[in-house]
Amino acid sequence: MDNKKIKAGITVFPGSNCDYDVYRVLNAVFGVSASFIWHKDKVKNLKNFDFIVIPGGFSYGDYLRSGALAARSPVMELVKDYAFGGGIVLGICNGFQILLEAGLLDGVMLTNDSLKFECKDVYLSTLNTDTPFTCAVKKNSVLKMPIAHHDGNYFATDKIIDGLNKNDGVVFKYCDEKGNLSAGSNPNGSLYNIAGISNENSNVMGLMPHPERSSEKILGSEDGGHIFKSIIKYIKEK
C-alpha cells in the first residue's frame, strides 16, 4: 500500500500551533495524505481517517488549565467516538493534555516542577513496543526528542498507575542517554518519569515530547520519525 493512500486527520483548535508542523512532516517526510479538521467543522464522523493527530500548541491559550477548554470543543466528541470505535489517536504535548482532559487517557498534567516552560532535548525509554505508535521501535531503544511545555508534570492516583502498569499503558519514560531512569533525566517532575501513556486498547496515546520536530536529520534527530513509521506500518499491516 502506498503511503499516499493513508489518510491522517489533524485537529485544529483556536491556539493550536504545532498543527502545521505535523501536517508538513506527515505529508512531506512520510508521504501520508494529512489534512486539517477545524474544531467547528461540521463533519459527521471521522471514519474516513486512518488516524487522528491532536497536535501541540496553546489551545485556548492554555487558559484555566492546559487542554481543558479544547477538550470541551465539539470535535472532541467525534474524536471520542472515533477512539471508542478503535480508531488510532495520537496526542502530542498539548494534544496529550487535551486527551487527559477529555477523559480519553487517565491522569492530569500539573505545572512543571520548575514552574517554568522547558524547551530541550530529552531521551525516552520505550517500554511498550506493542502499540500502533511503537510497533516499529526496537524494544528498550532510547529515543531523542525535544520537549517544549509548561505543564508536563504527569500526575495520577495510585489506582490509575496500577491500571496503567497492568495494561502496559506506560509507553515512554524519560531517561538518560543510556536508558537509565534517573531523577536527573526527568525534565518536569512527572510521576515515575512518565512521558507517554496509552489507553487500555493501546489505540490512543499521548506523549509530551514532539516527534514531528525530530523526524529529519537536519533537526538533530530522526527518532521521532519512528512513531509515525510505526503508525504507518500498523495501518498497512492491519
Partner: protein, 748 residues
C-alpha cells in the same frame, strides 16, 4: 496668520509636549487645542511616534542596495530571499513598560513586534531579543530577569513562534532603566506583501481584533519622558497581553490576505487608533472618516480621546473594498474576533470623527503627521576627555591566571544563558537548524517543500560599554559583531535593523553620543553592505533619583543594538563554533591587537574599564570576513568562533565545552610576540576568528588555502590542537574543562 498668546497651561497638562510645541499647535489651529486635539497631538508629536530628535540622523543611514526590497518607513523592512520568497523583519524596544511591569511589558513588546511583521502579510518564523538588566547583584535584578524572560516566553511560545537567539547583559547603568528589545522575522511571498499606504477612496475602514479598553493611555508620551517614580498617574497604564487572541488575529489576517480581502492594513501599536488612522491616511495620500460609535469597547463610557489613545493590544485597522466586507467578516467570525466597519477612506486629507451620530471633530492629516523635526544641540561629553588609551604596564599582572580565567567565564555577562533560552520554545516550526547557545541562529525554510535547503541566519548584538567609551566604534562594532557571528556560521550578512536606546535627547551630550553611534552604524553598514531596513529609537532611558539630599539622573550607557539577517545557500553547510574532534588543529585567522581597553577583564579584575577600546579597521574587517566565508565555502573549516567579550580565552573555552555530544579541551602553544599574557588571553573584539580544521588544511588543502589568504591579504596561524578535557595555554593556563563547563553553565 493670527498670533496666539503664550499659554499658561501647566507642564503636566501638556502630556510631554513642550510649551513651544503647544504654541506651534495653537498657531496651526488658529486657537488653543481642546482636550481631544491635544491628546492626538501629544501622541503623534511624541518622540516615540514622530522621531523628532532622531530623524535627521536616521536619514543618513544606508537603506538601499543588496537584496533590499522595502526599506524603513513601513511596519517592517523587506529583503528578497529568492524563489519568490521575501523575509520581513524589525526590532523594537519596550523598555519603559517593561520597567514598570516586566512580565506584561516584555510580553506586549513581543506581541507588538510580531504584529508589525504580520501586518505586512508575513508569517512570523523567528523571534530574538536583546535584554539589559541592572548589575547582577542588584536586589531587583533577579525579579526583572525572571519576569521579563517569563513574559517573552509566555507570548512567543503561545504564538508558536520560536525564539532562537538574543543577548542578556547585566550592568549597573541599567539599575533604574532596564532594556527590552524584541526582534521578529517573518516570511511572505513577494507578491503577498501588504502595506499601510494603499487605501483607496471609497474603501471602508475596518477595525479588527480585541476591544478597546483603558490600557496604556498616553503610552506613547510615556515612552518619551524620563521616569519620575512619584508620578503615580503613569502607573495606571499597564497593558495586558493576550497571546491567544493575537494568534487568532494572526491566522485571521493571513487568511483574509490570502483571500485578497484586504487593501491596506496597519497594526495599532503606540498611540493605537490615532497613529494607525492618521498614518494610513497620510501614507495613502487620502483622508478618513472614523466613527467612534462603532469602536468595540471593553470599558463602557470611554471618552473619544481615551478611545483614540488607548493602547489595548491585539488590534488592527484595515481598508477593504465595500463588496468584500461580508466575506472579510466571515473570516474574522470564524476566528472569533471583532470585525466592524469603523469608517471610510475619503479624498479630502482630513480625519473626520463621528461621535454620538454627529460630526465630532475634523483634523487635518498633514498638520497632525508632520510633527516637529529637531536638530538638537550636540556637545562632546566631558567624560570622554578622560578616556585614554590603556597603559597596561601600570596594572599589575595577576599571579594566577587560572583563577582569573575562571572568574571571567563565570561572570554573568559571559556565562551561558541556557537557563534563559530553555524557557523559550526554540524548536517549534521545524526550522531551527542551529538553536540558541551558539554564534548565530541558523534557520531553514521548512515550508511544505522538501529538499529546499536554503536558509538564513540571525543575530542581535550591541555593546554599550564600548559605545560609552567610544560612541562611533560602539555603533560600528554592533554591526560588525553581528556580521562576525553570521560569517562564523558560514552565512553572508544581508541587512540589518537597529534599536537605539539612549537617555534624553534634550541633553546635548546624549545627542552627541547618538549622532556618533549612528555614524558608526552607518560606516559599518556601508562597508559590510548591510543596509538598514527598519529600526526603532528609544530615548529618555533615564530616571530621576534621590540619594539623601542629592538628586541626580540615572542614565543608561548609550546602547545601540543591531539585529542582522544573513543568508546561506545550504543549511547543511552551516558551521558551529564548537570543536568537533580530538586532534583537530586550532588556528587564528586575522591578527591580534591585544588591547584590553574597556574589557571585562579590566572591569572585574582591575576595577577600571574606562579606557579607549581598539578602533575598528572596517576595510580589514570586510576582507577578514570574506576570507573566512571563502574558507568555509570550500568545506575546509570544522568550527569557527569570533573573539568577543572575555577574549581569546573565552572563545577557546566555549568552543571546547559547547559541543552537545561531549566535552573537549585544547593545548595552545603560541608565540604571543610582545603581548603580555593577559593581553593575549582577554583582549576583546579582536579582528580575528578561532578556527579548527583537520590536518588537511595544512596538507592537501594547503595551496588552496594559501590562495584564498593571499587574495584577501589575511594571516592564518596554527596555535594548537583540540584535546580531551584539559585547557592548556602556553604554560600559563592549565584547567580542567569540566571545571570550566560547570562554572559556565551554572553561573546564572
Amino acid at each position: 496668520m493670527n498670533k496666539t498668546k503664550k499659554t499658561n497651561k501647566p507642564a503636566e497638562k501638556l502630556f510631554g509636549l513642550s510649551t513651544e510645541e503647544y504654541e506651534k499647535i495653537s498657531e496651526l489651529l488658529g486657537r488653543e487645542p481642546d482636550d481631544f486635539e491635544l491628546g492626538i497631538f501629544s501622541a503623534m508629536w511624541s518622540e516615540h511616534c514622530s522621531y523628532k530628535s532622531s530623524k535627521v540622523y536616521l536619514k543618513t543611514l544606508p537603506t538601499e542596495g543588496g537584496k533590499v526590497l522595502i526599506g524603513p518607513g513601513e511596519n517592517a523592512g523587506v529583503v528578497d530571499f529568492g524563489d519568490g520568497d521575501v523575509l520581513v523583519f524589525k526590532m523594537e524596544s519596550h523598555n519603559h513598560p517593561s520597567f514598570i511591569e516586566p512580565f506584561q511589558g516584555s510580553a506586549t513588546g513581543v506581541g507588538g513586534i510580531m504584529r508589525d511583521i504580520f501586518t505586512m502579510g508575513a508569517r512570523p518564523v523567528a523571534n530574538l531579543n536583546s535584554l539589559r538588566f541592572g548589575s547582577f547583584s542588584h536586589p531587583r535584578t533577579p525579579y526583572y530577569l525572571s519576569e521579563v524572560v517569563k513574559g517573552i516566553g509566555f507570548y512567543g511560545n503561545c504564538m508558536g513562534v520560536p525564539t532562537v537567539g538574543g543577548e542578556v547583559v547585566f550592568d549597573e547603568c541599567y539599575n533604574d532603566n532596564i532594556l527590552v528589545n524584541a526582534f521578529t522575522i517573518g516570511i511572505a511571498k513577494k507578491d503577498g506583501i501588504f502595506l499601510s499606504s494603499k487605501c483607496e477612496i471609497g474603501n471602508i475602514v475596518v477595525y479588527v481584533g480585541s476591544a478597546t479598553g483603558m490600557d496604556g493611555i498616553h503610552g506613547a508620551t510615556m515612552a518619551s519622558e524620563e521616569f519620575d517614580l512619584k508620578k503615580n498617574k503613569k502607573r495606571s497604564t499597564v497593558q495586558v497581553g493576550d497571546p491567544f487572541t493575537e494568534k487568532l488575529l494572526l491566522e485571521a489576517c493571513l487568511e483574509a490576505m490570502e483571500k485578497k480581502l484586504i487593501v491596506s492594513i496597519q497594526d495599532m501599536g503606540a498611540a493605537g487608533l490615532t497613529s494607525s488612522s492618521f498614518e494610513m491616511a497620510d501614507k495613502s495620500g487620502k483622508g478618513m472618516i472614523i466613527n467612534l460609535d462603532s469602536i468595540p469597547l471593553r470599558t463602557a463610557g470611554m471618552t473619544p480621546v481615551e478611545m483614540m489613545l488607548s493602547e489595548s493590544q491585539e488590534r488592527m485597522l484595515l481598508a477593504c473594498e465595500k463588496e468584500k466586507f461580508s466575506e472579510l467578516k466571515g473570516v474574522f467570525d470564524k476566528w472569533g474576533l471583532n470585525c466592524v466597519i469603523a469608517g471610510e477612506v475619503i479624498k479630502e486629507k482630513v480625519v473626520r470623527f463621528y461621535y454620538n451620530s454627529k460630526i465630532y471633530k475634523t483634523l487635518d492629516v498633514d498638520v497632525i503627521v508632520n510633527g516637529p523635526e529637531y536638530k538638537r544641540p550636540v556637545k562632546s561629553p566631558a567624560y570622554l576627555k578622560e578616556i585614554k588609551p590603556l597603559k597596561i604596564k601600570s596594572y599589575k599582572m595577576p599571579g594566577n591566571l587560572n583563577d582569573i580565567a575562571l572568574k571571567i567565564i563565570t561572570n554573568p555577562n559571559i556565562a551561558s544563558k541556557k537557563k534563559v533560552y530553555t524557557q523559550y520554545d526554540y524548536t517549534i516550526g521545524t526550522g531551527t537548524v542551529v538553536p540558541p547557545g551558539f554564534s548565530a541562529a541558523v534557520l531553514r525554510v521548512s515550508g511544505n517543500r522538501l529538499n529546499q535547503n536554503k536558509g538564513f541566519l540571525l543575530n542581535v548584538s550591541g555593546n554599550s560599554k564600548y559605545t560609552y567609551l567610544d560612541p562611533f566604534t560602539g555603533g560600528a562594532l554592533a554591526v560588525t559583531e553581528c556580521a562576525r557571528n553570521i560569517t562564523a556560521c558560514g552565512g553572508s550578512p544581508a541587512a540589518i535593523t537597529d534599536c537605539l536606546n539612549f537617555a534624553s535627547p534634550e541633553d546635548p551630550e546624549t545627542m552627541w553620543q547618538f549622532s556618533s553611534a549612528v555614524e558608526g552604524i552607518k560606516s559599518a553598514a556601508i562597508k559590510l553592505n548591510t543596509p538598514v531596513i527598519s529600526g526603532n529609537v528609544s530615548f529618555y532611558n533615564e530616571t530621576a533619583k534621590k540619594d539623601g539630599d542629592r538628586t541626580y539622573v540615572s542614565k543608561i550607557y548609550p546602547t545601540p543594538v543591531i539585529g542582522m539577517l544573513g543568508f546561506i545557500d545550504d543549511v547543511n553547510n552551516a558551521v558551529t563554533p564548537y570543536f568537533k574532534d580530538e586532534g583537530d588543529e586550532i588556528y587564528i585567522l586575522g591578527s591580534l591587537n591585544g588591547n584590553l581597553g574597556g574589557s571585562l577583564y579590566m572591569d572585574i579584575i582591575h576595577n577600571d574599564f574606562r579606557q579607549k577600546p581598539s578602533a575598528l579597521d572596517l576595510d580589514y574587517e570586510t576582507r577578514l570576513q570574506n576570507c573566512l566565508r571563502s574558507l568555509i565555502a570550500k568545506g575546509f573549516i570544522k568550527s569557527a568562533a569570533d573573539i568577543s567579550e572575555g577574549g581569546i580565552f573565552t572563545a577557546l573555552a566555549e568552543s571546547a565545552i559547547a559541543n552537545p555530544k561531549r566535552t573537549f579541551g585544547f593545548a595552545v602553544d603560541y608565540d604571543i610576540n610582545g603581548l603580555r599574557a593577559d593581553e593575549f588571553l582577554f583582549s576583546e573584539f579582536e579582528q580575528a576568528f578561532i578556527l579548527t580544521a583537520d590536518k588537511e588544511l595544512n596538507g592537501a588543502h594547503k595551496a588552496a588555502v594559501k590562495k584564498i589568504l593571499g587574495e584577501y591579504g589575511i594571516k592564518l596561524e596554527k596555535i594548537g590542537t583540540v584535546k580531551n578535557n584539559e585547557m592548556k595555554i602556553n604554560g600559563i593556563i592549565n584547567l580542567k574543562s569540566d571545571t570550566i563547563k560547570e562554572g559556565y553553565y551554572s553561573a546564572i
